[in-house]
């Protein structure tokens, strides 16, 4: 039986992680390669890197990080943030990432999904979606709207419609981020996650709102997500991957055992 995946997300700015402030032991809290190794050994199933470097000129720094990560961990990892062109995708994939995630660039230019899927295979292309609850209307029948620029710009696109379109264009997976839940640590947006996951037949990673293991249980069971993204709940040391996974196992959710790396 397929395991549900637990995926830590690392925000990287100009080659340094921006959230890892409370790591103990010998981990360089700002070094994404060190943090990737830590999570790999701790039993993470996959890792997501989100490049928040503002300047496009400094993208080479991220490519260097990707290359080093690929030499260090032997599980899949994806890179998102600032991916705008086929060349951006190629750089990241050749450096060793398993997948690339496109978000705003895909909303502004949906063709990029199809081009990426054709060039590198559907399994390489993750459609990142930032979504806000706006209430049902003629234009937004699901009640969830696509936003970009961190939620500041409403795009007038229905989230469910966009997810279906992304799948049809060739995305192999969806990373579904609720802007409403993001940063709250009050739990994932279950209604949204279930809606997308049950109506689109590619895997869905739930993102935004994780604060405790119970939240992962909810989104992986009731929310029907295939994977759950976590950030601060493990970055700051409040929980471990092992602790989360043993909790989920007790609750009857199938996850990969964390002892796998040793």
């Amino acid at each position: 039986m397929l395991s549900k995946r637990i995926i830590p997300c690392l925000d990287v700015r100009e080659g340094r992680t921006t959230k890892g402030i409370k790591f103990k032991d010998n981990i360089d809290i700002g070094d994404p390669v060190d943090m990737a190794r830590f999570y790999y050994e701790a039993g993470a199933d996959e890792i997501v890197f989100y490049d928040i470097t503002a300047s496009h000129e400094k993208r080479d720094i991220m490519i260097d990080v990707v290359r080093k990560v690929a030499e260090t961990i032997f599980i899949p990892f994806s890179v998102g943030g600032g991916i705008r062109t086929l060349d951006d995708m190629r750089d990241v994939l050749l450096a060793g990432a398993e997948k690339v995630s496109v978000n705003s660039a895909a909303v502004l230019n949906p063709k990029i999904i199809a081009e990426g899927a054709r060039a590198f295979g559907n399994q390489c292309i993750v459609l990142g979606m930032d979504v806000k609850h706006v209430g049902k209307s003629g234009k937004i029948p699901s009640g969830y709207e696509i936003v970009i620029n961190g939620g500041r710009k409403y795009m007038g696109i229905d989230a469910l419609e966009w997810a279906r379109q992304g799948r049809d264009l060739g995305a192999g997976e969806i990373c579904l981020n609720s802007i409403d839940a993001d940063g709250t640590q009050d739990g994932y947006e279950l209604t949204l996650t279930e809606l997308i996951s049950t109506h689109v037949d590619i895997p869905v990673i739930a993102s935004g709102g994780a604060g405790e293991p119970e939240h992962l249980y909810q989104v992986l069971s009731k929310g029907k997500a295939d994977a759950a993204l976590i950030a601060s709940m493990t970055h700051y040391g409040a929980y471990t991957i092992e602790g989360i996974k043993s909790y989920l196992t007790e609750k009857g959710v199938k996850v990969r055992p964390t002892g796998s790396q040793h």
Partner: protein, 213 residues
């Protein structure tokens, strides 16, 4: 020296990196002489069967692989490489290498079959993406030292289906039970990615590098 066959089918550098990590000399190549000279061959690949076979033929690698197989050289197929060693793929209706009797089937068609619709689990996503276990049907040196609870990283919509049961070394459950490790003689192939499967995956690569079929 291990030759990783380069036929424009996806990210081959990850296999190279994993082999280097376990201290095994390797080269990513489409050069027939280098393939002939290699002691072992890894045949990886992601993508579609149709374009993969086209590339192999264009580069003359189809014969190079058959040759290596006939000469008894250890061959490891990964993902798409575990599929196109069979005779035929339902994906793009493609004639494949035919090193092993059998065909390549798709989850989509399997899930639409009447018997599955009646009793199977609904809502299964395609591709089958993520970590899953394997259940061994027979022992194989390449799988030695693994635990029953070990999981491996899969990402695929099609799977190999050898004609002879004896060629199925391990199976995996995803709605249906499908062959996930297959092999015969000096060839072993897996649908999952050992190079992306953490410790047990690296163990498989180590085993392959020592395997004397």
């Amino acid at each position: 020296m291990i030759a990783i066959i380069d036929y424009d089918a996806g990210n081959l550098t990850s296999v190279a990196r994993a082999l280097s990590h376990i201290g095994v000399e390797n080269i990513v190549t489409n050069n027939i002489r280098q393939i002939e000279a290699a002691e072992r061959i890894v045949f990886p690949g992601v993508g579609a069967a149709g374009s993969a076979m086209e590339s192999l033929k264009r580069l003359g690698l189809d014969n190079a692989i058959k040759d290596a197989f006939d000469r008894g050289k250890p061959i490891l197929g990964i993902c798409l490489g575990s599929q196109i060693i069979l005779s035929y793929s339902e994906e793009n209706q493609t004639s494949c290498l035919g090193l092993m009797d059998g065909n390549v089937r798709g989850f989509s068609a399997e899930f639409q079959k009447a018997e599955f619709q009646k009793s199977g689990v609904s809502g299964l996503k395609i591709p089958h993406m993520g970590w899953n276990q394997i259940r061994r049907r027979s022992d194989h040196a390449v799988l030695s030292g693994l635990r029953d609870t070990d999981e491996f990283y899969f990402v695929h919509s099609f799977f190999p289906y050898p004609e002879k049961k004896i060629n199925i070394i391990a199976v995996t459950q995803y709605g249906i039970e499908f062959p996930s490790v297959i092999g015969m003689k000096n060839m072993v192939a897996m649908q999952f990615h050992p190079e992306k499967s953490g410790r047990p995956g690296l163990q498989i690569l180590r085993n392959f590098c020592k395997w004397e079929p």
